[in-house]
């Protein structure tokens, strides 16, 4: 995945952005995060009960 040869200035517009990798990476962290968030949010109604 890495390419050490690219020492020349780069910008976002060159090359091909790894879209699938971006989606997988965000799902990797968001799924457990949303599980934790859900477990927390379900407790909140008791505050107004």
């Amino acid at each position: 995945m890495s390419n050490p040869a690219s020492s020349n200035p780069a910008s976002d517009t060159t090359g091909r952005p790894p879209v699938a990798l971006v989606v997988i990476a965000w799902l990797w962290v968001l799924v457990p995060f949303l599980y934790g968030l859900y477990s927390l949010v379900v407790k909140i109604p008791a505050l107004f009960g």
Binding site: M1, S2, N3, P4, A5, S6, S7, N8, P9, A10, S11, D12, T13, T14, G15, R16, P17, P18, V19, L21, V22, A25, W26, W28, V29, P32, F33, Y35, G36, L37, S39, L40, V41, K43, I44, P45, A46, L47, G49
Partner: protein, 465 residues
């Protein structure tokens, strides 16, 4: 660290220079993989009751791994900060993951063999080193990838540290229950606790691997498409020069920021530390007894959410309004909110909730915005190392906040209702006012502390070739 073949070693910075087209939006999930994991430390309480019952230890002993972990976090961030900047984020993430995971494995062995000191050494000592190195590992890299929005980038990562406990709390509790090791069981199976530690270690090893596999540093000269440094919003506080970590701690700006962070954190901990009893003392008369306990638990949950979201929201806002202005909000409005809390007391639950939520959101935001403030003042050259040294303010506040609130609450044990907390809240107001004054005194760093461009460029060239 080059390999024998001539190819740079796997952990070196040269090996992770991003190829053209590498998306910078891969860097926040890499950082989150580490921060969501090490944030587990705030869910240590999920293990406490089971350990106390299963290993026949007291409350002080069961808190030791957590306390040592937080102390080690501050110390290792300060001691290894320079090494993290020098060796790069992949090295730092691998070391952090190894220590954090080893901590769980040693703790598992400790519970299995009945040697509690191994739990303290493993989770608190070895794991604590992983916390410190892991906390600072992605910060300078994120700032370099997001020069246009450093507050947003560090806000995402540091929100992850708050979110780590959100994941770990229910996960750990359900695991302990499944293994017959929940404190509510008639008899706690210590092998179940050992197994839970072991599984935590293995799962976090896999989860954190995303971080060190994905992390990349931008190529020299890289900048976001369409962004020009010269077009950056004119702000006198944002310097263009770099200051070394050794010189940074000799500047008044570093110590003023140290006071700002320390007192902002202390003020937040003032509520966070005793959120459950504070809520019960404020609303004992107006809430039915059967729902008071559940409502207090919900109040703690709301504060956790505010603490986490504040890291992301306010830190992102700081990119628009400037770091000095946003700390004026955290400290100045924070002090006013404590005044309102003291005056309104139990008479208005909505005002009480609003004040508490905002105070906690400012508490979390103080952590998340500080790396960007450091970048503005000292540049990106050794910002990770400087951040590591600044985290000693957190360690200090972690002791100061609970000591103030608990000492006053204990001394006023015979006082009923909100009045029990009035002196503690007044101290928080004073601390926030001092923090506000310290923030006002922060000016751009004098030119005599700036590193020569050749030194900064020389080191960058060395790692790029």
């Amino acid at each position: 660290m080059a390999a024998a073949s001539g190819r740079p070693g796997f952990l070196t910075r040269e090996r992770i220079v991003a190829p053209p087209g590498w998306s910078r939006w891969l860097i926040p999930p890499a950082a989150l993989a580490v921060h969501l994991s090490i944030g587990q430390v705030y869910a240590w309480s999920a293990f406490k009751a089971s350990l106390e019952k299963g290993m026949d230890i007291g409350g002080v002993a069961s808190a030791l791994p957590f306390t040592l972990g937080i102390v080690m976090l501050g110390l290792s961030a300060a001691v290894f900060g320079t090494k993290v900047d020098a060796n790069g984020p992949r090295w730092a993430m691998v070391v952090a993951s190894s220590c954090f995971v080893a901590g769980f494995l040693v703790a598992s062995l400790g519970v299995y063999t009945g040697q509690y000191w191994l739990v303290v050494l493993g989770y608190g000592g070895i794991g604590g080193i992983g916390l410190g190195i892991g906390y600072i590992s992605p910060v300078s890299t994120l700032i370099k990838w997001f020069p246009d929005r450093p507050g947003l980038a560090t806000g995402i990562a540091i929100m992850g540290f708050g979110g780590g406990a959100l994941i770990a709390n229910p996960w750990t509790s359900s695991m302990l229950t499944s293994f017959g090791a929940a404190a509510s069981a008639p008899e706690v199976d210590t092998d179940g606790i050992a197994l839970a530690f072991l599984i935590h270690g293995v799962v976090y090893a896999v989860f954190m691997s995303l971080g060190w596999l994905l992390i990349r540093v931008p190529a020299e000269g890289w900048k976001p498409a369409g962004w020009e440094p010269s077009a950056q919003k004119d702000n006198a506080m944002i310097g263009r020069s770099n200051v070394s970590a050794a010189n940074a701690i000799r500047t008044p700006q570093f110590w003023l920021l140290w006071i700002v962070l320390c007192f902002n954190v202390t003020a937040g901990i003032g509520i966070l530390e005793k959120a459950n009893p504070i809520f019960q003392d404020f609303f004992r008369d107006s809430t039915p007894a059967e729902t008071l306990t559940a409502a207090a638990v919900a109040f703690v949950s709301v504060l956790s959410l505010a603490n986490m979201l504040g890291r992301f929201i306010w830190s992102s806002v700081s990119d628009l309004v400037g770091r000095k202005n946003i700390y004026r909000l955290y400290l100045g409005v924070g002090a006013l909110l404590y005044v309102l809390l003291t005056l309104v007391g139990e008479t208005s639950k909505p005002v009480f909730l609003l004040c508490s939520i905002l105070i906690l959101s400012f508490y979390g935001a103080g952590f998340a915005t500080v790396p960007a403030y450091l970048r503005d003042l000292f540049g990106t050259y050794q910002v990770g190392a400087i951040h590591g040294r600044l985290l000693t303010a957190w360690s200090t506040a972690g002791v100061l906040g609970p000591v103030i609130v608990n000492a006053i609450a204990d001394a006023r044990a015979d006082v009923a209702g909100p009045a029990k907390y009035t002196p503690a809240f007044l101290i928080m107001i004073v601390l926030l006012a001092i923090g506000f004054a310290a923030n006002e005194l922060i000016r751009p760093v004098a030119a005599r502390w700036h590193e020569p461009e050749s030194t900064v460029r020389g080191e960058r060239t060395e790692v790029q070739t």
